[in-house]
Amino acid sequence: MLIEISNVTKQFGGLIAVNDVSMDVHEGEIVSVIGPNGAGKTTLFNCVTGVYTPEKGKILYKKDGVVRDIVGVPAYKIAYLGISRTFQNIRLFKNMTVLENVLVGRHPKLRAKIWEILLTLPAFVAEEKKGVRLARNLLEFVGLLDREAEISTSLPYGLQRKLEIARALASEPKILLLDEPAAGMNPSETEELISLIKKIREMGVTIILIEHDMSLVMKLSERIFVLDFGQKIAEGSPMEIRNNPKVIEAYLGKEEAEIA
């Protein structure tokens, strides 16, 4: 078990956005979290990444053989622990270039001290060189290398999502949380994204995915968790989820065509 979320509850005032949700993810898996709008999927991600602290529950994370509860750990430390994410409503660093965005993502791996930077000591230079090389590799990987000098927000929407993925990968994470990576993409871009995600998994990164595009979810996931009104209503293989009457009901027949 790489990460185990147990009985996590997060409230906003009277609204229970995530209600007693448990899920577990094994190393090397691709799992998906699905559910109607407002089900609490993003909130669950925010609990895992430390943006919100859940009121109840534990999130156990195994790193180097040590299991620890990461509830209450500040968000920036979570990144150092090897959990990285993308955002549903793209949050790129607007006035910075594509390459610079990826380098910010590399932050947890950069250690140069202030004096090393000021005196331009070799340790700093080597680290920067390595960072740039890796960032360029990642950009090539997502197909953005030729646009590295552009301002990030001048990219078309689909490419911005890919840039977010490259940025999240720059810290060489163990777990990658993708929040609706296919939103706003056209079918051919989505196809590319699917093969991209597969390759990321082959790099040894465990992936947790939130997505509304059922075809993508069904093609990629080993297991699926379904949330509705903050509660987990089902979990299982794509096959099981497809035929689960509760899930079909939760989607109110809206996506029945795709599910059935």
Partner: protein, 291 residues
Amino acid sequence: MGAVYALIALGYTMVYGILELINFAHGEIFMMGSFFGLLFWWILEMTGLSKVIPIPLAIFLMFVFSMIATAFLGALLEFIAYRPLRSVTNRLIPLISALGASIFLQNFAMLTFGSTNRVYPAIFPDFGWNLFHARISLIQIFIFVTCILMMIGLTLLVHKTKLGRSMRAVSQDYVTASLMGIRVNRIITITFMIGSSLAAAAGVMYGMYYGVAKFDMGYLAGLKAFTAAVLGGIGNIPGAMLGGFCLGIIESFGAGYISSEYKDMFAFLMLLFILLLRPSGLLGQQVPDKV
């Protein structure tokens, strides 16, 4: 004095509520309001009317004149210095523009009205009552009552009229408001006009109370009113009133018990203290970021 701060603070808060912009030139608007009042008095004196019309009427007209003139000045300020910048995302830009406007107005006042204290007419009969240990003068009561009346008026305006409803809509979300058919530009102009006329009234009262007007009086008063607005939770109308009164009380107590030299500092220290305990001001609510 708390009431005067509250009136100026209202202008900051109203503009902030709508545009999320600190109207740095607001202190200068207040100063101009004071001078407009004075100007009107000079006109009365020159035409000899000051002897003819009864004092209460003269005071009333002084307020009206200054408030109207300043309202237009406020609208002009918005039109020139802020409106062209509304689409700019960097919040510092309008701020610098506001500073420019404020330097301009200050120097304008200095050039037209001179760089020394200008004497305000002592229209108010100087008498008062001794209450406990404090002396309460007629003018203090007058200022207090006028300020309260104006605040009640503003509250009614914002909550009970169609205009007020539009203003609140614009401050919630002005893109949506414009889609709902509200003429956003007009509402913003009106907001500036109301805020400016309140500051003008404050300026006239300030002048009457201290007996002088000076080109640089807007700076400290503006600073304190801004402090008051933040104290109460900027963008929040009752908050600004509360903040103004708090600041006035804090200041007079601070001055009474510590030393008048540290009076200004006391207000700021209090502000720091409150903000550290309640980072969104007394009546402001904390809005968590949605991720």
